[in-house]
């Protein structure tokens, strides 16, 4: 199939349909509105259900219900809306149900702005709602990658019986790029879900629940969840770009990584050995790969659309062996390639005075 020019949000919607998603529950918010808009038209065409709920809270609880009955289901929103969904997300994680949640991040805190941001990193990778739980978090950087990841997101959700978050931003949602969809599979084989509440006639009833009044039982449940999160470590994905001999390694995800990549090329043209490490899974975090990419680095620089969130995980995962610096813009402002280049030059030349 030839490439088509498509908006990120719409491409993501189409990819979800092709991944077998047949249920969408959501509530409008910029900059992700083209996802529900697209699915409102497409889902009925394939016999699916599109429902605009009365609120984000209602929508995520509809996702909870649909996931419990074994459906391939998703919701999408943007930062303030995702905050509203947090209660439902922790219930879904606690009850171990598969679903996909898309966050096209915008500036915060509070109602913030409608422009792109990456300031929900902590919320996405550290839990977000209450209790000890994790989401699998995928961070695509192009529309093609977003499309390619949709099927994977649903498969991972089913495999681990866990919510998966696609962490995008306003740029990825709003921009258009050329994209190629994989050939449509005629019969998608979905995982069996013997745990689903599909009517208990002729079998033992299934119970979907996140309430454990007995503390012994709840602790056991937490240990069980933790073992599951540990097992997810093998799902790590990342991209190395010119890191082999890099003395300054940039780290960024999503839209910021695109800007960082361009800055790396400019820095190389200036004779600076720069490279980019791009985590594609944010949870699990590709720790070993990051360490490998940074082993010859004198400086590491994270590039983010936040006041410094990813930088904390980069420092932690590099075990404080390399100086890790941060450059970011926030509130809907986007780093420019030139500004990132200036940061690279600054760190590449730092310490030269001491040597001389």
């Amino acid at each position: 199939m030839a490439k088509v020019l498509m908006k990120g949000n719409e491409a993501l919607g189409e990819a979800a349909i092709r991944a077998g998603c047949r249920y969408f529950f959501g509530y409008p918010i910029t900059p992700q509105n083209e996802i529900p808009q697209y699915l409102a038209k497409r889902l009925p065409e394939v016999g699916g259900v599109f429902l605009q709920a009365e609120s984000e809270i209602a929508a995520i609880n509809m996702v909870y219900g649909a996931a419990g009955s074994g459906a391939r289901v998703m919701t999408s929103s943007s930062s303030p809306g995702i905050s509203l969904k947090q209660e439902g997300i922790t219930y879904i994680a606690g009850a171990e149900l598969p679903c996909v949640i898309v966050n096209m991040q915008r500036g915060g805190p509070g109602l913030g702005s409608i422009q792109p941001a990456q300031s929900d990193y902590f919320q996405a990778v550290k839990g977000g709602g209450h209790g000890d739980y994790k989401l699998l978090v995928l961070a695509p950087a192009t529309i093609q990658e977003m499309v390619d990841m949709m099927g994977k997101a649903f498969d991972l959700a089913d495999e681990y019986r866990n919510p998966v978050m696609i962490l995008g931003d306003g740029i990825l949602g709003q921009m258009m790029e050329g994209v190629e969809f994989p050939a449509e599979e005629t019969a998608l084989t979905l995982a069996e879900k013997p745990w689903a509440t599909t009517g208990a006639k002729g079998r033992k009833p299934n119970l979907i629940n996140s309430l454990f009044l007995d503390p012994v039982e709840l602790e056991q449940h937490n240990h069980h969840l933790q073992r599951k999160y540990d097992r997810m470590a093998k799902e790590v994905l990342w991209e190395n770009y010119r890191t082999d001999d890099a003395e300054v390694v940039l780290v960024g995800y999503g839209s910021s990584a695109r800007i960082a990549k361009a800055a790396v090329d400019l820095a190389r043209a200036h004779g600076i050995k720069a490279g980019l490490f791009r985590p594609i899974t944010l949870f699990p975090f590709p720790k070993a790969a990051l360490q490998e990419a940074c082993k010859q680095a004198n400086h590491v620089l994270t590039v983010e659309m936040s006041m410094g969130q990813l930088v904390e995980d980069v420092r932690y995962n590099l075990e404080f062996k390399v100086p890790v610096h941060f450059y970011g813009r926030s509130g809907g402002m986007v780093p420019t390639t030139r500004a990132v280049l200036e940061e690279i030059i600054r760190w590449a030349h730092s310490g030269e005075e001491d040597k001389a």
Binding site: L5, P31, Q115, M175, M176, E177, G178, K261, T337
Partner: protein
């Protein structure tokens, strides 16, 4: 080749579609392209703009801060974006609606009375944007006319393909104008 373009005008003037058509034309040529709208809050009658990148290599950020080319269809857009254009960059002005001169002297400027030309030469003011697009293509060679036509065939529904010859004529008028500078 890397060409970064900002297109700006009133909401409803067709800058978004013009930008998409340009991006699609780049895609037809297997180039890397991106298009992104300004989606901030705007009042009715305010400005709308989009950024288009056409490149031989992967597009880094689709957000353009220093365009190679600025295409403006109304006066507020000229006033807003003129300062951002790269030194030596290209400025295409729709003089049918813009009655002021640009402030900068380091740009290559082409003023096009697009509505008048479209009316007088083609009897249809609705293809005025295509004249400007033609001038852009003529001046930069970022894409070919054939690719723009190819893109039109993709975005227009079949029953509108009868409009393609008219659009081609408009593009060709633009190319002629480009030869003049």
């Amino acid at each position: 080749m890397l060409q970064e373009i900002i297109l700006a005008g009133f909401g409803g003037q067709g800058v978004m579609s013009m930008g998409q058509l340009l991006a699609y034309a780049g895609l037809v040529e297997d180039k890397h392209v991106s298009w992104i709208p300004s989606y901030g809050p705007e009042m009715r009658g305010g400005t709308a703009n989009c950024s288009v990148t056409i490149s031989d290599v992967e597009v880094s950020s689709p957000i353009i801060t220093e365009p190679d080319t600025l295409i403006v269809l109304n006066r507020p857009s000229l006033e807003k974006f003129e300062k951002d254009v790269k030194p030596g960059g290209l400025l295409l002005i729709n003089s049918s609606l813009i009655d002021i001169e640009p402030q900068r002297h380091d740009l290559k400027v082409l003023t096009i009375p697009a509505s008048e030309l479209a009316n007088e030469r083609l009897g249809n003011s609705r293809v005025s944007n295509m004249i400007i697009l033609g001038a852009f293509v003529g001046l930069t060679g970022a894409v070919t006319i054939e690719s723009v036509i190819g893109a039109l065939k993709k975005v227009l529904p079949e029953y509108r393909h009868n409009l393609i010859p008219l659009n081609r004529q408009a593009l060709e008028i633009g190319i002629e104008l480009a030869k003049g500078i």
